[in-house]
């Protein structure tokens, strides 16, 4: 009881400090960087995009043209002929399984990965 911490206590403490972050790394990993995105229009696959090929894409939807910006492993909606711009506010997508959709225009984008984070999503 002379000291607050014995050598053994320090060992356990340091081991814990190593263990806990590694648990986050092990169980909270995303499904990793996606390489490819798929675009659906009106329920049908419309395009497969290489996420590292920089481009701006015009997607003809039901209401009008949605604009997609792709590059640097990410994709986002930059414009869409809808009211509340939900798809644009979704922002950049980069992880496998990430989805953005403009429902009024019936355009959606999903990042593909080996180990998708979700099997499917219902809105």
């Amino acid at each position: 009881m002379k000291h607050w911490l014995t050598k053994g206590d320090w060992l356990v403490l340091i081991a814990t400090l190593l263990l806990v972050p590694s648990l986050y790394a092990a169980y909270w990993h995303g499904s990793g960087q996606g390489l490819e995105a798929r675009v659906w229009v009106d329920g049908k696959p419309w395009a497969r995009l290489d996420l590292f090929h920089v481009q701006h894409l015009d997607v003809p939807g039901v209401l009008g043209v949605s604009h997609l910006e792709i590059g640097n492993g990410q994709v986002r909606f930059t414009d869409s002929p809808c009211q509340n711009r939900q798809c644009i506010h979704t922002g950049w997508l980069s992880e496998g399984g990430d989805v953005a959709a403009c429902l009024p225009n019936r355009v959606s984008v999903q990042i593909m990965a080996d180990d998708p984070r979700f099997d499917s999503i219902n809105f």
Partner: protein, 183 residues
């Protein structure tokens, strides 16, 4: 013919400490918990005190009797709560046994209350989580809860270690607290 059961000094100590642990256990069960499985674990402070003063065998008795009798009193005996509690306690005392054995075998690296408390809390949470996962909710999504629960366990383990240390310091400095008279 009357039979009397000979009780030893150890039996009385176990009974008293278990009673104390059960009291804390029940008081604690009245506290609202933010997440299932998260409790301050103050009853484990009693286990740690018994371990540090009387050794591992007595600590196992106190920990397991506390879970058993506590669950009977709370009406959770043989319910999922009970099995979570029991598996946590079993894992905890196993970890304490290992820590205690190491402390005796290699005195230079002996664990103090803080190391023991931390070890027990982490083992407790792991045992509990494993039971929850295997027996009750075998869904991979549950695993996402494991890191934050272990973080909480580590913090609460350190807190219980600090509490144990200060209680032990008082007990050791108080001459009237020698052996049986612990009140």
């Amino acid at each position: 013919m009357t039979q009397t059961i000979q009780t030893t000094r150890d039996d009385h100590l176990i009974a008293w400490f278990t009673a104390l642990a059960i009291t804390i256990h029940i008081a604690e069960s009245a506290l609202p918990s933010p997440l299932p499985g998260v409790k301050p674990g103050l009853a484990n402070v009693v286990t740690l005190i018994v371990l540090c003063r009387y050794g591992w065998r007595m600590a196992v008795w106190v920990a397991l009797l506390r879970v058993l009798i506590g669950s009977v009193l709370l009406g959770t005996f043989l319910s999922p709560t009970f099995f979570l509690s029991l598996s946590g306690a079993l894992a905890g005392v196993t970890a304490l046994g290992l820590g205690w054995a190491v402390s005796r075998a290699v005195p230079g690296w002996a664990l103090g209350p803080l190391g023991l408390g931390l070890l027990a809390a982490l083992a407790h949470m792991t045992g509990q989580f494993w039971t929850a996962y295997v027996l009750f909710i075998p869904h991979p999504a549950l695993l996402h809860l494991f890191p934050p629960l272990m973080t909480l366990a580590a913090v609460l383990g350190i807190v219980s270690g600090v509490l144990t240390r200060s209680v032990l310091a008082r007990l050791n400095s108080d001459p009237s607290a020698s052996m049986v008279k612990k009140k």
